[in-house]
């Protein structure tokens, strides 16, 4: 059977999965699990070919995908109804926030099962912050405070650290990350789609302002953009202080640099409230696959509490099941302390047919903005025009796909 998954652990994904699956393979020697690693954008284009089965690749039996794609893949008639396959399957034990993205809208039928999730947070080097403030927590509670900290740190390191940027860029392409911007938008009260999924919020003033807040990081030269990532210094070296990431980053930061102390806080608020982005990955069985029974077996095995904890730990993410999540959080006092508040202010992307499309459009807008900054052509009008054009197009798409 074929499992399509994203590079959850970058270049180590295959090894980690092989390691994780060893007991499953031992228990089920007749099931040959082949793993194909496909990054998110490539996966996005491939899911649209699954229905017609005309692609050159064999159809996967099981896929791991962002949970907000569920409704889209149900609409495309690509996913198996898991409830029909196994009436005992329940998501009752999963975290409440993750449950809605498992079901087909307005039904009790499960189409995808929560596997793991992660939450955005601001990680930073305590030693660097001590150079500019005695109260990092207060300073980093607001976006303005974060920008001020970046300014002071850039000034501080301008002579001593070549290629220093206060914020490490979390985007693989070195672009402006369209997922990292979400807390800035939500904190200002902006939304990509209204709760009923009928109205697009990209052309609203608070959306533009939230985007502008995030863009400031690149505009002011606090975060590198569109550079070969490997050429840049990392937070664990002396070339960066902050990183906004959805991974806990504990091993990333502490693994090789035990002498350096890292701290984790919620993403600074741009508006009145804290907002953090929770991203979930669900497992789903593909209709065009040939090994439905085996896929179901593997899905159930991967989502059992112990396996979830093990994989989450290896992925620097969180398990999706409530009991596993609690155990995982409690197992580390630091993790518990860091994340209790962050989780309280976390939100997910809504599971609508067009959410994935909007995120693709947002990624493109970010690319346009990033290149215009690099070519010194950026002004606020570019952002406004991009958002308004996108909003018009989303309104059109909504007309086609809204029920």
């Amino acid at each position: 059977m074929i499992l399509w998954m994203m590079p959850d652990n970058a270049t180590h994904t295959q090894d980690i999965m092989d390691n994780l699956l060893a007991p499953f393979r031992a228990e089920n020697p007749d099931i040959d699990v082949q793993i194909k690693i496909i990054n998110r954008r490539n996966l996005w284009t491939r899911i649209f070919t699954l229905k017609h089965k005309v692609g050159h690749d064999s159809c996967p039996d099981l896929i791991a995908m962002p949970n907000y794609w569920t409704e889209l893949l149900i609409k495309a008639d690509v996913l198996e109804n898991l409830t029909e396959l196994d009436k005992t399957l329940r998501v009752d034990n999963c975290l409440d926030l993750l449950k809605p993205s498992s079901y087909k809208k307005d039904t009790a039928d499960i189409y995808s099962f929560p596997w793991w999730m992660d939450i955005s947070a601001l990680h930073f080097r305590e030693d660097h912050l001590k150079l500019i403030t005695d109260d990092a927590e207060t300073m980093l509670s607001t976006w303005g405070g974060l920008l001020e900290a970046c300014r002071l740190l850039k000034e501080h390191f301008s002579g001593s650290e070549e290629g220093y940027y206060p914020m490490q860029n979390n985007d693989w392409r070195g672009s402006l990350s369209h997922r990292s911007v979400l807390p800035c938008l939500w904190s200002r009260g902006a939304y990509i789609l209204s709760p009923d999924g009928k109205t697009c919020g990209l052309d609203k003033p608070e959306f533009e302002q939230g985007m502008a807040d995030f863009i400031e990081l690149a505009l002011k030269g606090y975060m590198p953009i569109l550079k070969e990532r490997s050429s840049l210094g990392l937070i664990s070296s002396n070339k960066s202080t902050f990183m906004m990431t959805r991974r806990q980053g504990l091993t990333m930061f502490e693994g090789n640099q035990k002498s350096i102390k890292f701290k984790t806080l919620p993403v600074p608020r741009t508006g009145d409230n804290y907002a953090n982005y929770m991203g979930g990955v669900n497992l789903a069985i593909v209709k065009g696959g040939t090994q439905r029974e085996n896929a179901l077996k593997l899905l159930k095995w991967l989502t059992q509490p112990d396996t979830q904890i093990e994989y989450a730990a290896k992925t620097e993410a969180f398990p999706a099941m409530e009991s596993s999540f609690d155990n995982f959080l409690m197992a580390s006092p630091q993790r518990l302390q860091n994340y209790t508040g962050i989780i309280a202010s976390a939100s997910l992307l809504p599971n609508f047919v067009i959410t994935g499309t909007i995120m693709e459009m947002l990624a493109n807008i970010m690319s346009v903005i990033a290149s215009s900054i690099l070519m010194h052509k950026y002004d606020r009008k570019i952002l406004k025009d991009e958002l308004q054009n996108a909003a018009k197009e989303i309104d059109n798409i909504l007309r086609f796909y809204i029920d």
Partner: protein, 510 residues
Amino acid sequence: MIDKRTSLFYDFYQSLSDRYESIGSLLKKALPLMAEYLNADRIFFFDWIGEQSIISLKMMCIGNKSYYMQEDVFVDKNSPEIIKFMEDGIGDSPTLDYPAVYNLLKWRTPLDSLKTIQSGAPAGNQYGVIRIERLKKNKPFSQSDREILSGLCRELSVKINITEVDHYNTTQLRRALALNELAAVFATSLRLSDGIADILKSIQKTFQFDRTSLFLNDPKSGEFKEAYTSDLSGEIKEIDIKEAAIAGVSEACSKQACTPLIKSDIILSLPMIVQNKHLGWLVFDNMLSRMQISDEDVLSLRQFSSQIALAIDNARLFERVQELSNFDDLTKLALRRFFNEHLEQEIYRSERFNLTFSLILLDIDHFKGINDTYGHAVGDEALKAVSEVIRASLRQTDIPCRYGGDEVLIMLPRTTGEEAEHIAKRLMKKVSEIELPSRVTRGADIKLSISQGLSVFPYDATNGQDLINCADKALYYVKETGRGNWASYSDAIKQEEKDKQDASNGKTDK
């Protein structure tokens, strides 16, 4: 004696001697080999999209593990480093602080070759970029390494070209089969509604767009008349013709444009034209997936659209023939045969579901007088005008029929006697408001009125002919009692009985 480098190239050539179904599977085989030959830790393959200043990462290999990627990375194509790289075909990374070399790949796609044949313009090239890295080993690439890399990249370019040609041939074959399939469908399906569903399904299956929509023009006005779509769920539904504006074809429709209209790289609109008749537009969009519509698709779809236009034209002709055999040409009202078929169906349905329906039989008062006084042309105009009023005043489910001469019989499904009386009243009023054009009447003031008889199923009769006879009887009664009015069969019967009673009592009024 073969030297080591030649042997390596031969080994590479031999290892890639299989046929690959896609560039992805070719790269999965080739990249780890290249990394091994050059003792590199990591190797990347990018597509070069020069016009957009983008290199798009497609695959990354570390050891023997391959990662399928799609990440667009911005590059400034006008920067001196990039210009030099494009000239030299090889270059070091300007920013990485460990050994990394880029090498350009160049090949020609089948579509490029086709364009050259069609236009005679010099063939363009497709470009790709390989990057090899010694991240862990940190050993610089020697001149010899670079020469080997260039040699391997040349071989890989040839192999990519072959794979693309294979892929193109397979795709074309699949599309040719789809076209044949469509032709077969058209040969067996003459009804437009069936044809539309088959067209949309076949296109979705072959081209996999998010949506395919069909906007059909009204043959007379040239304006959009109806539109259908099939989205990724496969469901086919009728849509609002206003959606044409989204594809940008509303304006093109009014201008009778006949060239493909590409609004953006995710929406394509193709006109459907047969013998200079503009039948409508086929619109394909990937608004949901945001995937670009390829030149290859545009080329194939143009073939499809001509076939589809022909099929639609045939279906319309067939429907027109049907219409001529069922409807009266002067009044556009149904003919008797068509009416009788529907009357039988309505009786069956009403009996089965315990429903009621009504008939109205009407004629134009003094119609013979109009013909005799003003001529048949005026009589025809009067008949046309009354028929227009009748058609405009009824529901889509009602069936008016030219029963004979100036007599019109109307079937009103699911209509009680009381509701039918309202309709009769309305018709009477509207007919009285008709003003025949003076060019026809030559200045004469002709006032029109109608007389109507009503019957109701199942109260007045339970079979078609009896029900018509009842309406006729009621009409006769109206005509006898002064015209320009209406009466139900039950009224007529009551009055007849009363008249009989009166006559027997010697108190007849008439």
